[in-house]
């Protein structure tokens, strides 16, 4: 297998193109690869369509950074703070630019990615019946269930196939094999539906470590285009077994992004004026170390022996 370990900067430069549809983390609140969020902004990517169940403040940052033309999502905001100020400014005042919004619920987004991953022509859903999401997102279509005679309306959700999915994992090897633990959200569906998968690994390990536990793999290496090693690449979101959530960081972002000038100052300080994630970690300094999980809650032993 090909060695896929590259610098995050190169992975983003080569694998994300202006106009791409992009998933940045798909586990809802944890495991969001903010390092990639920052790199997309630093590289000035434009006209992205962000596919997001709930990617906490990541989508809001990208909108404020002017990278986003469209949100294909269920929720954009700041999970502990509530509203996303950049999202509001873009949707309400076209600042820094107008954005299109394709409304989903989390389940509808999950089924759309499932349909994309598994080559389904559509996913049938009962969930959105009656909701105005069917009005504001014209991609959904309500039909009668052809298998029954009595009235039985069904929502058909078209497949979503992201151009790129950037997904964080606890550990990976250089070939794209990786271990993931914690809630999986829509990460598996996103990985299998996406044309190109970029793995952000908190740690790089040897291949036998990964292959020692193949049930711990969430998506196969042959679908992975690149592996980037970024310690704490999910900061300020949490990663079970490795990093706590940096609640203060989210709160500070929320407060400072309330007006455009504040956001731009925040963006300069935490993204644009820093060359890379190593500089970001250095700037966090001891604050980052305080977030490091040092306790032990080991998984019970498992034996895969065949003989």
């Amino acid at each position: 297998m090909r060695d896929k370990l590259v610098d995050l900067k190169d992975a983003i430069a080569e694998l994300v193109r202006d106009g791409d549809s992009v998933v940045l983390g798909a586990c809802l609140e944890p495991m969001i690869p903010f390092a990639a969020t920052h790199e997309l902004i630093r590289q000035g990517k434009r006209d992205l369509a962000m596919i997001a169940p709930i990617s906490d403040a990541s989508t809001d940052m990208l909108i404020g950074g002017g990278c986003v033309a469209k949100v294909i999502g269920a929720w954009v905001g700041n999970v502990s703070g509530g509203l996303g100020h950049n999202y509001r400014r873009a949707a309400e005042k076209r600042v820094p630019r107008s954005i299109a919004i394709e409304d989903y619920s989390n389940f509808a987004l999950g089924m759309a990615l499932t349909a994309g991953a598994y080559g389904m022509p559509f996913a049938p859903l009962r969930s959105l019946l009656g909701s105005d999401i069917l009005k504001s997102n014209p991609r959904f279509k309500v039909t009668q269930n052809p298998l029954v005679d009595q009235p039985d309306p069904v929502v058909l959700v078209p497949p979503l196939k992201p151009d790129v999915a950037v997904l964080a994992v606890q550990r990976a090897d250089r070939l794209g094999n990786s271990h993931f633990w914690g809630n999986t959200g829509l990460a598996q569906e996103a990985a299998l539906a996406a044309e190109r998968v970029i793995v952000i690994a908190d740690e790089i390990v040897e291949t036998p470590v990964i292959l020692s536990d193949p049930n711990r793999i969430l998506f196969p290496a042959f679908r992975v285009a690149a592996v980037a090693h970024v310690s704490a690449g999910v900061h300020p979101s949490p990663m079970v077994g490795a990093w706590r959530r940096d609640n203060d960081f989210f709160a500070d972002y929320h407060a400072r992004s309330r007006d455009r000038e504040g956001f731009l100052a925040w963006l300069a300080e935490w993204v644009l004026d820093l060359p890379d994630h190593a500089a970001y970690r250095a700037k966090l300094g001891a604050g980052l170390e305080r977030l490091r999980i040092s306790g032990a809650a080991p998984a019970a032993a498992v034996n895969y022996a065949a003989d």
Partner: protein, 256 residues
């Protein structure tokens, strides 16, 4: 502050929400306050309740440690299942969930909730974060509990956008759109508890919290709020309930 000195209004709301959970029920737990409600229920009258979190977590016992989001590590360690959103929301659609919690910016007299757009969705005056999983939980849970701040502009005659379906224009409309079950069972606010009543399932005043009255609640409701025949003051949290709550809320976040 509405409550008596021993508890905050938010604590009263948490306990009121906990009481809605019956033992053995499968609960789709939302963020923040419902997390605490699930915990209190588990530790008091519902030791066999099961909590589902849409990010892909199933828990039996409440998390040790403060949760800012449902995906925080304390909610993962010792979970009874870590899995995907589609698995849990699929079970929800499959009818395996008894009760679900949601919130929103606006709710109307038929329990429809808006968490998407204030104003025209094509040119909103306020862009709210969106459904998340709320639209799914509202459509497919056995019954739904809504948690709201009780203000005139939040409890409105008709929401400008139905993110999460309640009874639409009345219960028959919910059934007519193809939903086979569910709908709001209670709305728990910082002033009162409202419940659907009558064939239309319009929200009625069921109880007002200590410090409030039927009149003060009505005055803060955007429609002409009718009251249930047996409307009464919300019973305050009991000692066991508060003790359970304090055990979970070790940092006193909800006592502030």
């Amino acid at each position: 502050m509405h409550g008596r000195p021993e508890y905050t209004t938010q604590e009263l709301m948490i306990v009121a929400a906990a009481r809605e959970i019956a033992d053995g029920e499968v609960v789709f737990v939302g963020m923040r306050l419902p997390i605490m409600a699930f915990g209190v229920a588990r530790l008091t009258h519902a030791p066999n309740a099961v909590g589902l979190f849409e990010c892909g977590i199933v828990r039996h016992r409440p998390a040790d440690g403060m949760l800012y989001t449902m995906g925080d590590p304390p909610n993962q360690v010792g979970a009874a299942w870590l899995t995907g959103t589609v698995q849990l929301m699929g079970m929800l659609q499959g009818g395996r969930v008894d009760i679900g919690f949601i919130g929103g910016a606006e709710i109307d007299r038929f329990g429809n909730i808006n968490s998407s757009y204030i104003g025209d969705f094509a040119a909103p005056t306020v862009k709210l974060p969106g459904s998340g999983g709320a639209a799914d939980i509202a459509a497919m849970s056995g019954r739904v509990l809504a948690i709201m701040n009780h203000e005139n502009h939040r409890l409105v005659p008709k929401v400008s956008y139905v993110t999460s379906v309640g009874y639409l224009g009345g219960a028959a409309e919910r059934a007519a759109c193809g939903l086979r079950r569910g709908g709001p069972a209670a709305v728990i606010t910082d002033r009162a508890i409202l419940r659907p009543h009558g064939p239309d399932r319009e929200l009625h005043l069921a109880s007002w919290h200590p410090g409030e009255s039927a009149e003060s609640v009505s005055a803060n409701t955007g429609w002409s709020l009718r009251r249930l025949p047996n409307a009464h003051e919300t019973p305050p949290p009991g000692a066991a309930e508060l003790e359970a709550l304090h055990r979970i809320d070790r940092d006193g976040f909800w006592r502030r």
